[in-house]
């Protein structure tokens, strides 16, 4: 299997993501209140991952003509790469917050589904919304709404609520994991069945 080449436009977003995650980890470990310290890095990570995933999706749309299968493979690989860059930080954070290994692996699965889901959203917005200003608003505005509104109501629909819940092995985490895995699965099925003419750039 050939490893896809990273688009040059994504080097800085990936590196920036890693730098901010590292800074977030240090901030969380140094935070004086342990209750905040236990969730701060997870909030930072899932928020940054959402933004990175939107950028991956948008950049991937401009990467040139590819078959649907190759495009899907690239989106999956770059979602995985985003997770792999944060993996050392997550392993350290697991030790410092005494999260269990099942929680850790469930969180990894959620982060992968969350990242891939937002990658698809980024790609779809690039296809549908041609005007850049409107796309910017739809992309980041939509992400903020989906991330923050569920927090107010405590719904397991935002990474900000689901990831800490999975980390602490609360029931809401499993609901959120199922939701995001389901949405990612639906996204993949939809990808296979969509009209090829308009999407395969």
């Amino acid at each position: 299997m050939k490893i896809p080449v990273l688009p040059a436009a994504l080097v800085t977003p990936f590196h920036g993501f890693a730098i901010l995650c590292g800074a977030g980890l240090l901030a969380a470990l140094l935070w004086p209140d342990p209750l905040v310290s236990r969730v701060l890095f997870l909030h930072i990570l899932v928020f940054l991952q959402g933004i990175l995933s939107l950028q991956i999706g948008e950049a991937e749309y401009g990467y040139g003509p590819l078959s649907l299968r190759a495009r899907l493979g690239r989106l999956l690989f770059f979602s995985f790469l985003g997770l792999a860059l944060a993996l050392p930080f997550l392993l350290v954070y697991r030790a410092e917050t005494a999260a269990s290994w099942p929680s850790f692996f469930a969180s990894l699965a959620f982060l992968f589904a969350h990242g891939f889901g937002w990658t698809l959203v980024g790609y779809a917005l690039a296809v549908v919304v041609r005007w850049e200003g409107l796309r910017f608003l739809a992309k980041y505005g939509g992400f903020l709404v989906v991330s923050l509104i569920p927090v107010v109501f405590g719904w397991p629909a935002s990474g900000l609520t689901v990831l800490p819940a999975l980390w602490e092995r609360r029931e809401m985490g499993w609901l959120g994991l199922a939701l995001y895995l389901g949405l990612s699965g639906v996204g993949v099925i939809w990808w296979w069945r969509k009209p090829k003419r308009s999407w395969a750039k």
Binding site: V5, L6, P7, V11, H15, P34, P88, F89, A95, E96
Partner: protein
């Protein structure tokens, strides 16, 4: 026939419960709970009485207090038990269940008459005007049970003033005709702040900080080379750093789970009792069991997860509770002074202790000890006062 006799016996046990002096349960204090159990059957009864009560509210969070007391009653016998029972806001009733061979055979509920303020009592005769009148024989041996009183009036007693009254006066701020050498005050905020900062062991900063910087420094050029089609270096680099992080994660898992403080305040004027404060913070969810009857000293705004369970056994009371990760708990008790081994060493009182306890520190001498119990490391401070 014998079976029927036993079955009838199981349902024949009667329980009656009363909480608080004069039936008035004082909020935020340990109240006396009188439990009367009578066996109206010709067969002996052996079982357990469980008393439970809910505190808090759905919006402030709820916690459950649970007390287990083994009971053995001869045929047609009746027994009356006096146990300490902490009453907090939101506790409107207590539930009493009788268990025999692990099976619940009866249960009753008793409504509480809550009193928000502490009581004014008098010990007689001759009795003086007061809310609660006690005879000298009713003075409890456990000073915690006097907590509901803010003041106790009594004439010169025929014998020495009981140590329970002295301990109540010194450690629980009670006022009476006996003037204590000092009155202890607990300042919740400095104590809570100090405990919040407790970590069983800090992160391994000398490994962590250089590792993160090196990782981020090397990642930039490797991502650049990946965009030029050379993915191998980046993948090897990620595998190496993830392996280091995995090693760190597994290595740190073996560290201590709970960090705890034990503060013992002793007064030479109350030789039989001292006040003990146990404060602990956990790195992960932990179950803790302490010998003795401990009560919550620093109730937080939310009661969620602050359950307490007391069980009476051959060694007396034991208190069980859970520590949620990162959420410190402070418990207190009044108990006979402990004998520590190895003997503690003299030390200066730490700043957090001075700010947390209102005491005449200029007259105090402090000793320090470190106790290891399983995965728990407890730092002890013993404060001696006149």
């Amino acid at each position: 026939m014998i079976f029927l006799l036993w079955a009838f016996c199981a349902f024949a046990l009667e329980t009656k419960v009363e909480v608080g002096w004069g039936g008035q349960a004082v909020v935020s204090a340990v109240n006396p709970l009188w439990l009367s159990v009578s066996n109206s059957h010709p067969a002996p009864f052996s079982g357990e009485v469980r008393i439970s009560g809910k505190i808090g509210s759905p919006w402030r969070g709820e916690a459950l207090y649970h007390l287990k007391l083994p009971v053995f009653l001869a045929p047609y016998a009746r027994a009356r038990f006096l146990v300490p029972w902490p009453v907090e806001l939101g506790m409107t009733s207590v539930f009493v269940s009788v268990f025999s061979e692990g099976r619940e055979i009866s249960s009753t509920a008793a409504e509480l008459f809550l009193n928000p303020g502490r009581l004014h009592g008098a010990i007689g005769p001759p009795f003086r005007p007061a809310e609660i009148l006690l005879s000298p024989a009713e003075i409890p041996k456990d000073p915690l049970l006097l907590w509901p009183f803010s003041r106790l009036d009594f004439p010169p007693l025929p014998q020495d003033i009981p140590d329970a009254i002295k301990a109540w006066s010194v450690f629980l701020g009670g006022e009476s005709t006996w003037e204590p050498p000092f009155r202890l005050g607990i300042r919740p905020e400095p104590l809570s702040q100090h405990l919040r900062g407790l970590r069983p062991s800090p992160p391994l900063w000398p490994a962590l900080v250089p590792g993160i910087f090196l990782y981020l420094l090397l990642l930039g050029p490797l991502l650049g080379s990946f965009s030029r089609g050379r993915a191998g270096y980046l993948l090897v680099f990620l595998a190496v750093f993830s392996s280091f992080a995995l090693f760190y994660s597994v290595y740190r898992e073996a560290g201590p789970g709970v960090a705890a403080y034990l503060v013992e305040v002793r007064s030479s004027s109350v030789p039989r009792f001292c006040l003990e404060l146990w404060g602990g913070a956990s790195w992960r969810g932990e179950e803790v069991e302490l010998p003795g009857f401990w009560v919550e000293a620093l109730p937080e705004r939310g009661w969620e997860g602050l359950d307490l369970e007391w069980a009476y056994g051959p060694d007396g009371w034991r208190t069980r509770f859970s520590l949620a990760p990162g959420r410190p708990r402070v418990l207190l008790r009044l108990a006979p002074p402990q004998v520590f081994s190895p003997p503690p060493a003299k030390t200066a009182p730490p700043a957090w202790l001075v700010s947390a306890l209102a005491l005449p520190w200029d007259q105090a001498s402090v000793e320090h000890i470190v106790l290891h119990e399983g995965r728990r490391k407890t730092e002890g401070f013993i404060v001696f006062l006149p």
